[in-house]
Amino acid sequence: MDPECAQLLPALCAVLVDPRQPVADDTCLEKLLDWFKTVTEGDIFFPVGSLNLTPCKKKVWELLGEERSSRGTPGAVPLVTPGLGRPHRVQCRAAAGAPLPGGAAVPCAESPGPEFWGPLLLTPPGRNLRSPGKLLPVSSGAVDTIFSLQGDSSLFVASAASQLLVHVLALSMQGGAEGQPCLPGGDWPACAQRIMDHVEESLCSAATPKVTQALNVLTTTFGRCQSPWTEALWVRLSPRVACLLERDPIPAAHSFVDLLLCVARSPVFSSSDGSLWETVVRALSCLGPTHMGPLALGILKLEHCPQALRTQAFQVLLQPLACVLKATVQAPGPPGLLDGTADDATTVDTLLASKSSCAGLLCRTLAHLEELQPLPQRPSPWPQASLLGATVTVLRLCDGSAAPASSVGGHLCGTLAGCVRVQRAALDFLGTLSQGTGPQELVTQALAVLLECLESPGSSPTVLKKAFQATLRWLLSSPKTPGCSDLGPLIPQFLRELFPVLQKRLCHPCWEVRDSALEFLTQLSRHWGGQADFRCALLASEVPELALQLLQDPESYVRASAVTAMGQLSSQGLHAPTSPEHAEARQSLFPELLHILSVDSEGFPRRAVMQVFTEWLRDGHADAARDMEQFVATVLQVASRDLDWEVRAQGLELALVFLGQTLGPPRTHCPYAVALPEVAPAQPLTEALRALCHVGLFDFAFCALFDCDRPVAQKSCDLLLFLRDKIASYSSLREARGGPNTASAEATLPRWRAGEQAQPPGDQEPEAVLAMLRSLDLEGLRSTLAESSDHVEKSPQSLLQDMLATGGFLQGDEADCY
């Protein structure tokens, strides 16, 4: 701890314990505790002890007591519990005078908590306490307090208490009185015994919250601890856990599933542990559909598990889709889902019960299958065709075009018609299914339903977005047929049907739809811009023209997406048809985009323009390559004046690309990269420097070096360092120091610093620039800039000062949450 803080701390404690002074808010107190923790990193005991400031220590405890009484909760002490996930505010309602572990006496009847809880809470799980043996045996009072905290009205407290219990259990199992680990099968240490008795008792309780607490404690234990004793723990408690399945309804089913999966995942348990799998098998048939799905998915994700169980789990997972398929398929459908799957009464009941239960079950099923599909351990054979059929059917049920084959089907038609929630889930899964291999007709089927979805006037913007995403995935993964046209036989026809729909969507009244359509167009042309079929279909449509019009869209998001799309199309010569009547449209896009960069009132389109220009320069786009220097000069001039610092930063990115093209690419700093011989620059250095001066790059870069926005200054610093390194390799200029120009360049420095342009762009002499580069401490500047803007604010001194200053100012009318 630095001396400034050490000086401030006693004064702060004095302020905090003074009842007349307003207490600093919780945020500051939490940060103060954070800081306490950091200054004593490595010391497990509560940091105040190691500050060696006895008066402070006492005062902090008093402060904690004060905080507690102000909250009106007896014994409420805020503590931060790192290592237990995110920090929690723990209110330890320790009964005053409760005996503490290790027989430590409560230092003060009013504040029993921190001395005891601190070491436990502040130690990350899995890390030994300095001497765990000292904590044992745990007296009943302390553990009882944790038991009661498990039922606290605050979720945060209850959760922290359960985690603390696991912590205590693990500690007591790690070492007995002699510090030897306990042997499985041997006598349990007293503390562990008490905790297990409590867990057993809770498991048998008729109150669901108690059962939930017990299950959560066990889940955390098996999740965190992988010592052999956990197996013994399971052997002891598994009958009680299994008994829960006999109750109707099964209590805390969600936590129950979590526990089973956690135990199954634990490496301590051998896959041959029969009792566990028996319970899982029973659970799969007893649980309701809401919990069956997550259990089945969890089983299928396990690396080791009996094959019969996997089969059963997969059947469970497929059941809802099998029901849907059965209810709608007139003729026998594709094999896979319906084979050997008898209608499960519970599933059918759930599907028929109400709209929300039906939608819920289908959404969960589709999401589970979506999660399973890309995994290597997914069931094999994977019923790709049936799943696709079922998903298409679900989508048809949603848009009302499915034909029911039974009364259940009729009911489903009524329930799912227009159900956006199910449509979204089905489209997500349909997109994922594109990654599987399948015959041509599958692709046709999927694309047909997607086109219907995109065409449907009733589709909501969120559905259309997902439909575009799924379509893109199917198109990009569609099989290519060698010898045929480049995109296979199916795609050209589909594109001819798709573009009219895309045109319609580019004119949609909702900006969300126009934007999604433009994003789709950008992605598709990025991947297929070179494909003749795609180019032909696109240019035959009005899509490029409409995208061009969207550069004037009233919504800035859409304008930005239109800029990106047009930039992409233009890169591939697709921004307008080649026919003579479109000659006007085929003119350069550059002035149009430059206009947006100069006048658009929103940052998104301007940023998009800068990205497009940078891409153009990098790829040698005709508009950039025609007169590269003029192009760069014009763009930098506009970008340097922009009020949005991200535009200015992007301007520096463009400058860096130009530098690379003029002087050669930046050297790689990767030690493992193959060292290539230096590429000779395109032109002699002096000429290159003159070009850089001419485009106004130095003006821009030196101004940006003192930009009030840190990322711009950082980027400029990097750029100038790169330039200096490049120049250093030229011996002819290395020694050129001083000279008449140096003075003039240095004289312009303050003006740059003040954010003004030094002189008309392009007027600098290369020598003056070189002199300037040498005179600047760029490395020093870079390390200064590496610190965040609020590093002073974030410092502990600032916190202590803030807390000191807060006293007396937090009066009624000041609260302002704008």
């Binding site: 808010d25 919780d26 945020t27 940060k31 102000s70 009106g72 995110r86 505010r89 009205s153 605050s154 979720l155 945060f156 959760s159 969600h254 997550p294 109400s354 709209k355 929300s356 939608a359 819920g360 959404c363 969960r364 999401a367 979204r424 913007p461 969120t462 969300e512 934007d515 998001y557 009132s601 940052g603 998104f604 940023r607 009020l643 610092w645 991200e646 003192f706 930009d707 009030c708 926005d709 840190r710 990322p711 200054a713 954010g755 500047l781 200064t784 800039l785 965040s788 803007s789 609020d790 002073v792 604010e793 974030k794 200053a805 009624g812 009318d813 000041e814 609260a815 949450c817 704008y818």
Partner: protein, 600 residues
């Protein structure tokens, strides 16, 4: 027992990070999804792990509702939807949907780029998040699904702020978000109808305060601006494009007109157009005066306030400039501040909250030497003023809203614990309504008694009316019938109709009882004595002596029998149907007292 459960993940006895989970009739709704400005780590967002414990977020939550565009109410939304993984619907009003991304983008720029934070949401994520938004109109009932509906009410506070009613069946909750019960220069006062929700969740920022007249603060503001320009100084007012800026512009415009001042007032270029665009677009959301004036002229097109050009900043002489952003963290306001900070004649007036890490926050906390980028030190000699123009309801306003909505219970959020405690007592004592103030992570459970609508059959109603009893709204009365539930609907019908509709045969249930009488006479005579006795006692009932010797009173049947073991005792077998339960009980107790002595 049905119940409503409320768990604040943020704004429970706290201001910032508003996020309240409500569970009502099996539906789960998240009210607001804000960030805490006081933290720079992941504590800035609500702790969503408590929802993710319940399985997939999109399955668990039915919807998210955002009350208004301030970051402590919507700042965590892109994180929640794009990084935590919520993929369901998000509801907010049209103005909130339009303005929300501007604020989120602004904050992203500070957090990610200036502070160099990683793992923060991107521009693309903000856009993707906004695409999930379903915008609602005021007083429009929106069906989230078949059972859950929501409705927005005007909340004042800022453009587009709304209170939301969440309703499932007959149970409802109202969430106020932030609101203002007094109109200001550009917005109206919050209003809600007498919707009598089960629970009203209200903000309580000024729970203990009756705010001073806004005029005092306005006068103070004008005085400071006027004094500065009079002595030749320049005034910088950093503002967010929308909100207080418009209020202050109207204020200055009116003052300049009245005082005939010539000193120029400027507003950042691009900003006026943007503000005008939103105010024109959302004119129904402004106050009545502005709406009326708008027919002739746009109140936001000013005579004295002109568009600002960056070159004006160097002009000599006094001027007033409104510039964005409001926290002096970047852009035009910061550039002007750097130019003017060194002159003690100048003044900067901060009309709103400033996030830690911004120049605005630094100067408000009294720093006079600012470390700018690249180790430059800027000495601040200009005067720095803070003026609170926030528009929250004060204690009086909160009480007024509670009185207006007439809830069964009230739950306080978005305030400090001590102040809430005071208001809680006031509400409980003065309005006799139970009041709660859970801390973050604490769950309040309210049992509800849902009123279930029951249809009544025409036949049953006619039968009742035939008895001359017309239904009256103010005088509830008892009606007998059979309640049947069919297709999730309840109907009260006559028992005959119920049997017919359900295709059931009628079964008669009879209650029986034995009464022992001391009587040495024969059974027939005993029966006759019983008949005579009942005839004399029950004058209004039909008492009959049947040929088989039994006696009937309405449906009650009495038969005398002689047990073989005791000839001096007779047993009376009494039986009756449920319709005559009272009569049956009365007769048995009467007969147990014995028969009157027969005249000998």
């Amino acid at each position: 027992m049905p119940e409503i459960r409320v768990t604040p993940l943020g704004a429970g006895q706290d201001v910032g990070r508003s996020c309240i989970l409500v569970s009502i009739a099996g539906k789960n709704v998240m009210l607001d999804c804000g960030m805490h400005m006081g933290f720079n780590d992941d504590r800035r967002f609500p702790d969503f792990s408590y929802i993710t414990q319940n399985g997939r977020l999109t399955d668990f939550l039915d919807c998210v509702i955002i009350s208004h565009f301030h970051l402590d109410h919507c700042g965590a939304l892109p994180y929640f939807s794009e990084m935590v993984g919520y993929d369901g619907p998000i509801y907010m009003t049209h103005p909130t949907q339009a303005i929300c991304p501007i604020l989120l983008e602004d904050y992203r720029k500070i957090a990610v780029d200036k502070k160099g934070e990683a793992n923060f949401f991107t521009s693309q994520m903000i856009k993707d998040c906004m695409k999930k938004v379903v915008a609602v109109h005021l007083h429009q009932t929106v069906q989230v699904d078949d059972e859950l509906e929501i409705k927005a009410y005007y909340a004042g506070h800022v453009l587009g702020a709304a209170m939301f009613q969440i309703k499932v069946g007959s149970e409802s909750v109202v969430y106020t978000g932030d609101y203002n019960m007094t109109p200001d220069r550009h917005l109206g006062a919050a209003w809600i109808d007498k919707c009598r929700p089960n629970l009203l969740i209200t903000e309580s920022t000024y729970a203990t305060t009756i705010r001073d007249s806004k005029r005092c603060r306005e006068r103070d503001f004008l005085k400071k601006v006027h004094e500065t320009v009079e002595r030749g100084g320049k005034v910088l007012i950093p503002v967010f494009a929308l909100g207080r800026a418009q209020e202050l512009c109207i204020l200055l415009e009116t003052f300049w007109e009245r005082m005939n001042l010539k000193v120029p007032i400027y507003f950042s270029t691009g900003l006026t157009e943007k503000a005008n665009h939103y105010y024109k677009l959302f004119i129904p959301w402004t106050n009545q005066k502005i709406r009326k004036t708008f027919v002739q002229r746009n109140m936001f097109e000013f005579k004295h306030i002109k568009a600002f050009d960056r070159a004006f900043a160097d002009n000599p002489g006094p001027m007033v400039v409104f510039a964005t952003p409001g926290m002096l963290h970047a852009g035009q306001s910061l550039q002007i501040f750097r130019k003017w900070a060194g002159n003690e004649k100048n003044m900067v007036i901060m009309p709103g909250y400033c996030v830690q890490g911004t120049v605005g926050h630094e100067i408000l906390s009294g720093q006079r030497k600012l470390e700018m980028e690249g180790r430059q030190v800027l000495e601040v000699k200009m005067q720095v003023e803070y003026m609170s123009f926030s528009a929250h309801a004060d204690a009086k306003g909160i009480m007024q809203l509670v009185g207006q909505a007439e809830p069964e219970s009230v739950l306080l959020v978005h305030g400090e614990a001590k102040k809430m405690e005071f208001l809680k007592q006031k509400i409980e004592q003065e309005l006799r309504v139970s009041c709660y103030m859970p801390a973050n992570g604490e769950t309040v459970t309210l049992p509800t008694s849902p009123s279930i609508p029951v249809g009544i059959s025409l036949g049953l109603l006619k039968r009742e009316m035939a008895q001359g009893l017309l239904p009256e709204a103010k005088k509830p009365r008892l009606l007998h019938g059979t309640l049947i539930m069919k297709d999730s609907n309840f109907r009260l019908v006559s028992s005959e109709q119920a049997l017919k509709e359900l295709g059931l045969a009628e079964h008669q249930l009879r209650f029986t009882c034995r009464v022992h009488l001391h009587d040495t006479r024969k059974e027939q005579e005993t029966a006759l004595r019983v008949y005579s006795h009942l005839k004399s006692v029950l004058k209004d009932h039909c008492v009959q002596h049947l040929p088989d010797g039994s006696v009937t009173v309405e449906s009650v049947l009495l038969q005398a029998a002689a047990p073989s073991e005791d000839p001096g005792t007779k047993v009376l077998l009494v039986s009756w149907t449920y319709q005559d339960e009272e009569l049956g009980s009365f007769l048995t107790s009467l007969l147990k007292k014995g028969l009157p002595q027969a005249p000998s």
